[in-house]
């Protein structure tokens, strides 16, 4: 398996940190090496928040992602800031509910998913990150859908009512294309 190196970015409250953490957690459940590195500081209060996730079969050298196999942009500033970090033939996932623009890059795979619209349609805007995560899993095969379902069950064990909603959003994203 090739290393998966993600930059996941959006504004505070969109669930970009949890999206990244679920990828890392799921990777760990599969026995893979993982790192999750958040941005921290004043930019989290209202501005962009982002995290770097690396999933590998080998011990991970650097947790800092500069050349990403996938960039996930939940809002426009994220797209502008990180589209240059996608490697050639890498993936760019764009939340087209909030971003009208397209990338100018011609050497990458770009995907546009109206994550918020899909989440609202299924009943909860807050699950937009799960819709996007499902879609990312289907396209990258970084880890299995099953592993993320397990992660959701573990993370929400004290809020069990939220498990079906999140798993549903994840699956809608996974099957979307």
């Amino acid at each position: 398996m090739k290393d998966h190196k993600f930059i996941i970015s959006g504004f505070g409250g969109q669930g970009v940190m949890s999206l990244g953490m679920m990828l890392a957690y799921g990777g760990m459940l599969e026995g893979k090496e993982v790192t999750w590195l958040p941005s921290y500081g004043p930019e989290m209060r209202g501005g962009t928040a982002n995290c770097n996730v690396v999933i590998s079969q080998k011990p991970i050298s650097s947790p800092v992602v500069t050349k990403a196999t996938s960039v996930v942009a939940m809002n426009l500033p994220s797209l502008i800031k990180f589209e240059k970090n996608v490697i050639a033939e890498g993936n760019l996932f764009v939340n087209s509910s909030l971003i009208n623009e397209k990338t100018s890059r011609k050497d990458i795979h770009d995907y546009y998913i109206a994550a918020n619209d899909i989440a609202i349609e299924m009943g909860n805007d807050k699950a937009a990150n799960m819709v996007l995560l499902g879609f990312i899993l289907a396209e990258t095969q970084a880890i299995s859908l099953k592993s993320v379902e397990k992660v959701i069950e573990k993370l929400f064990q004290n809020k069990k009512a939220l498990i079906p909603l999140n798993i549903k959003a994840l699956n809608i994203g996974y099957e979307f294309n």
């Binding site: 957690y25 760990m28 790192t35 590195l37 650097s62 800092v64 500069t66």
Partner: protein
């Protein structure tokens, strides 16, 4: 035990409890606040005590007090907060009181910023406070190594009756990695007969102090400390030597920067440049011996740091003029990227050839 996904700061705290820590005194500062947060929640459950002091200076003196009473005690902070604690650290070292200090360092000088930095190398290894003293300084490069070094630190502190510092940085404090909490390696420390636990009317009282007004008395204390530091320098050095065989350039980096250095080594290999890494795990005592047998192929040893060059002093002492010592660093909270370091290496090696 199964691995758990843990944030570096929480892992430091969980490992400290595993290492026997029962008392924590501190004052909040980013980027290490998850340590006191964890301690405030967990220490009361094991009959310990978490106390948020009114200042860093108060916190380190509470550590002094608890250590006098023979307790396993720690404090944590970040760069400017550790600076405030230096007086107390000097007193602890002077009075030979064991304790554990965690510095999740950030960029300076002054109040600086909150992003990661490594500009506390001098502060940590050269005695940030007054007088001739040393603290053992460990620099973990992963969350797993952080938990192992932290859990073992209390045993080492008791064994040598000396403060032990864990020097991380904001990146290791904030990142998450899978970890397995392990039992500490037990050292055969003598019972704390020196501790102030009450005589019970059975013995004469103990005295712990760092004051000695007679030069001959104080020199005797200095000589005793020196003898202890000599033993530590002989026995406690830890480092990792990686990919040194046939290396044209050897990078020297500690903590999170050493991981970026490993990524650089892979990138350079793709360009047919053979590079290796010496990673000090103990910053004091510094692993000078790791540089004894540099490969004949080595044209340069390059220190890579998140500072303007502090560890490079020790690298120069270790290399002792045998090959040129170069440097690359970023400051202000910026983390050097693999691309920048590769560029610098090409510049150095290109220059050497012409």
């Amino acid at each position: 035990m199964a691995k758990v996904l843990m944030k570096g700061n929480e892992a430091f705290a969980a490992a400290a409890i595993k290492g026997g820590c029962k008392y924590f005194f501190g004052y909040p500062i980013t980027p290490q606040n998850e340590i006191p947060e964890y301690m405030s929640r967990e220490l009361p459950k094991i009959g310990g005590c978490f106390l948020q002091a009114e200042s860093e200076i108060a916190a380190i003196n509470m550590v002094y007090g608890a250590s006098c009473a023979g307790a396993r005690v720690m404090t944590s902070s970040s760069s400017p907060g550790i600076a405030l604690k230096q007086e107390g650290i000097s007193f602890l070292a002077s009075a030979e009181l064991p304790c554990v200090l965690i510095n999740v360092s950030r960029a300076g000088p002054g109040i600086g910023g909150i992003q990661p930095g490594q500009a506390d190398y001098y502060q940590s290894t050269r005695g940030g406070g007054n007088g001739d003293y040393q603290v053992l300084v460990y620099a973990p490069a992963s969350v797993q190594e952080a938990v192992e070094l932290t859990a073992n630190a209390f045993e080492i502190a008791d064994y040598y009756r000396n403060p032990v510092m864990i020097l991380g940085d904001g990146m290791i404090g904030q990142m998450m990695e899978p970890v397995e909490l392990k039992e500490p390696i037990i050292r055969d420390a003598s019972p704390k007969t020196w501790a102030l636990t009450g005589t019970g009317g059975q013995r004469t009282h103990n005295t712990i102090k760092s004051l000695a007004l007679e030069p001959d008395d104080l020199e005797e204390i200095n000589l005793k400390l020196k003898a202890k530091y000599d033993v530590i320098q002989e026995k406690e050095v830890q480092y990792e030597a990686y990919n040194l065989d046939g290396a044209e350039i050897i990078l020297v980096a500690y903590g999170t920067v050493s991981r970026i250095a490993k990524a650089v080594i892979d990138d350079l290999a793709a360009l047919n440049i053979k590079a290796g890494l010496i990673r000090p795990i103990t910053l004091w005592p510094f692993p000078y011996k790791a540089f004894n047998d540099l490969p004949a192929t080595t044209k340069s040893v390059m220190s890579v740091e998140m500072s303007f060059g502090q560890m490079i002093d020790d690298v120069k002492i270790a290399v002792n003029g045998r090959v040129p010592v170069d440097f690359y660093g970023r400051t202000g909270g910026n983390v050097p990227s693999p691309e920048e370091i590769v560029c610098k290496v090409k510049e150095i090696l290109g220059g050497a050839e012409s």
